[in-house]
């Protein structure tokens, strides 16, 4: 779960980390009032869940009231397109207005759990304010990675190592230790999958300041972070994806026209790939999970049908915990309730498959049954060919 920059900074400020003074605004008037209070210059930053905001025109510096008004009017309500948002972009509903600061140097700093080593990873670079992937590609020697044992935690020698690598001055080094200790605490105590400070500024006033903060919270940990759970912002979420989440269905909307419903994430991805191989394009990823019941199947089916681009549906279930008879009943109930007028191919295998097939056969519904995965692919290909 991604946080907005202003939410991330509020969280980090609670750990004593230095963030610029700022205020969130959702209108030009509120933004101007905030800017007047903070004093000029101010930075005006779009609050959306996507990186690359600056290049997309979502971040502006205003030296006076007139510039602030112009920037606020331009950014609020704009549809921001960056390399992370894709073509449709996302609408800017809020901005963060921040006090401008004079910067001497910009660093890069991040802490994240590293899947390869199973340790926490501290990453720092002297090239702040740039896309770190680009730095990694062009000047890998300018990036320092330090593994931190999750049981031992951050050690002073590790902070020293990074401080030397960043060639910090004496005055910088003095506050760097506290900064890192606090950042590490914030990351581990809040189950953050990523905390990225880019840039970490060293200002003309000789202090560090977290100019930007990108934070992602582990959704699996929200049971122990009620406060963070409340920060979820679904405004940019696809409405069908939100609907699916209500029923604990794992649904991602894609661009194709073959809807599909599968139990298990790996099999769901493989089924999407199979649709592509058959010469069609998947309209979605939908994993109903290993423990799905008839009601969940019914909701899944409704969500697929609610997407107007879907022209045919493939249901692929390998019954283990989810028995085929349960699946079949869910499909029949959903089909009856929703008046399906597009072709539906059903492929089932596993526990109670005979009973499941019988339920489908006796339903009088116009369903195409596939005997195995290869057969399902051929049937989808035939249907897609006629679309």
């Amino acid at each position: 779960m991604k946080l907005h920059e202003y939410q991330a900074k509020e969280l980090l400020a609670r750990y004593g980390l230095p963030v610029p003074e700022g205020q969130v605004a959702d209108s030009v008037e509120a933004g101007l009032a905030a800017a007047d209070r903070l004093g000029y210059p101010v930075a005006i930053k779009a609050q959306v869940h996507a990186g690359g905001r600056g290049r997309g025109g979502g971040v502006r510096l205003a030296r006076n009231r007139a510039e602030a008004e112009e920037a606020l009017a331009a950014i609020l309500g704009m549809t921001l397109r960056t390399r992370q948002t894709g073509e449709q972009g996302c609408r800017v509903r809020r901005v963060l207005v921040e006090q401008g600061v004079e910067i001497r140097h910009e660093f890069y700093l991040s802490i994240l759990p590293d899947r390869a080593s199973g340790a926490m990873m501290l990453i720092g670079s002297t090239r702040g304010g740039m896309n770190i992937e680009e730095v990694a590609a062009e000047n890998p020697e300018l990036i320092t990675r330090i593994r931190i044992d999750p049981l031992a935690g951050l050690q002073p020698f590790q902070v020293r190592r990074l401080a030397f690598a960043l060639a910090l001055s004496d005055v910088q080094e003095r506050s760097f230790f506290d900064l890192l200790v606090n950042l590490y605490r914030a990351a581990t105590e809040n189950d953050l999958l990523l905390v990225e400070i880019n840039p970490l500024a060293f200002t003309a006033a000789d202090r560090f300041l977290l100019l930007d903060a990108k934070v992602e919270v582990d959704s699996s940990s929200l049971f122990r972070h009620r406060d963070l759970a409340g920060l979820r912002d679904d405004a940019d979420q696809d409405p069908l994806e939100l609907e699916a989440r209500k029923y604990n269905l794992n649904y991602i909307r894609l661009d194709g026209n073959i809807g599909n419903m599968v139990n298990g994430a790996g099999l769901a991805m493989a089924t999407m790939d199979m649709i592509k191989r058959a010469g069609a394009a998947p309209a979605n990823f939908l994993d109903v999970g290993g423990g799905a019941n008839a009601v969940m199947i019914e909701h899944g089916f409704r969500i697929l049908l609610a997407d107007p681009r879907v022209r045919a549906i493939l249901i692929n279930i390998f019954g283990g915990i989810l028995r085929c008879d349960v699946l079949a009943r869910g499909v029949v109930e959903a089909a009856r309730a929703t008046e399906v007028n597009i072709p539906v191919v059903v492929r089932m295998e596993g526990t109670n498959v005979e009973q499941g097939r019988q339920i489908l056969a006796e339903s009088d519904l116009d369903l195409v049954t596939a005997v195995d995965l290869g057969d399902a692919a051929r049937k989808i290909a035939a249907i897609a060919g006629e679309l």
Binding site: R115, F223, G264, M269, F318, L373, A377
Partner: protein, 298 residues
């Protein structure tokens, strides 16, 4: 022969008094697994379907000689359950639970290193040695005993693959789901190493998916250490970048973790990659043809 579990497995089920725990304990028992104990804190002294329940893993181990644990407890308590089993001296823990916070798993991994306990999972279907022992939630009847080992990051996709293998008369030595989380206890390479020491495993199937680089590392290990035929399959060619595809670990980040990169790495290392899941069984029948002849004749 097999890896990690066999006739000597004495299984303990953590969370046996829950609905899922009881159901799957019963399924494992019916498959032939020797279930010697259950553990649910506060329910010690009771029994579930004839199996004695203990308050702690240490108690269960002392009273029953359990050597393997199946963890079927909800995510908030799963890391604690794994560490309790490891601390008590259990040698193999299989954790099915999906949705354990990543930070918990980092601590579990470090903790396990101090104990010598092996963890399979979490977020996995478990492990099965067909005809002998099942420690997990996979449907037993699709498996048949035989010479091919199966290692997978997935659940139902593994069932599909195994079902197609069995359909071609290709039996399995041991099938392991290592789990779909970004941090798991046992890697592809750990499994490969174990299979390399199992003389009865004479072919391997590796089922991977997008995210991370475990498949690439496994492919290189196979190239350097194994001379038995290996078939690979990778799910997620059509997965859009930046989205988590159900499994917490299944995400393409930038240019890394893509299905194409994994498929290429596998091919470069001499692995036979099947790209059409619908044709997986016949594909394996061709690759493992010699193997089956040898098995048939001897």
């Amino acid at each position: 022969m097999s890896i990690f579990i066999d006739r000597n497995t004495r299984l303990l089920v953590q969370g046996i008094t829950g609905r899922e725990g009881r159901f799957h304990a019963d399924q494992c028992r019916r498959y032939g697994t020797r279930i010697v104990a259950g553990v649910t804190p506060g329910k010690g002294g009771s029994t579930v379907d004839g199996t004695p329940v203990f308050n702690t893993v240490a108690d269960a181990l002392r009273e029953t000689g359990a050597n393997t644990s199946l963890v079927l407890v909800p995510p908030p308590f799963a890391a604690d359950a794994i560490m309790e089993a490891a601390d008590a001296g259990i040698g193999l823990v299989v954790c099915i639970t999906e949705g354990i916070p990543l930070m918990d798993m980092l601590k579990v991994r470090s903790f396990l290193r101090l104990t010598g306990c092996r963890l399979i999972g979490p977020n996995c279907p478990g492990i099965i040695t067909p005809g002998v022992c099942k420690v997990g939630i996979m449907p037993g009847p699709i498996h048949t005993p035989g010479p091919v080992g199966v290692i997978s990051r997935s659940g139902t996709l593994t069932y599909e693959v195994v079902h197609q293998l069995s359909g071609q008369g290709i039996g399995q030595s041991t099938c392991i789901g290592i789990g779909g989380d970004p941090v798991v206890g046992t890697s592809f390479i750990d499994c490969l190493r174990a299979f390399a020491h199992d003389p009865r495993t004479r072919g391997l199937v590796l089922v991977g998916e997008i995210g991370g680089s475990a498949e690439e590392e496994a492919a290189r290990w196979i190239r350097d250490h194994l001379d038995i035929p290996v078939v690979g399959f990778i799910a997620g060619l059509t997965a859009p970048p930046g989205r988590r595809m159900g499994h917490a670990g299944a995400i393409v980040s930038g240019a890394s973790g893509t299905a194409t990169a994994k498929i290429n790495a596998m091919r470069d290392c001499g692995i036979h990659v099947c790209e059409d899941l619908g044709d997986f069984g016949p594909f394996c029948a061709r690759i493992f043809a010699n193997l089956l002849l040898e098995t048939g004749s001897g």
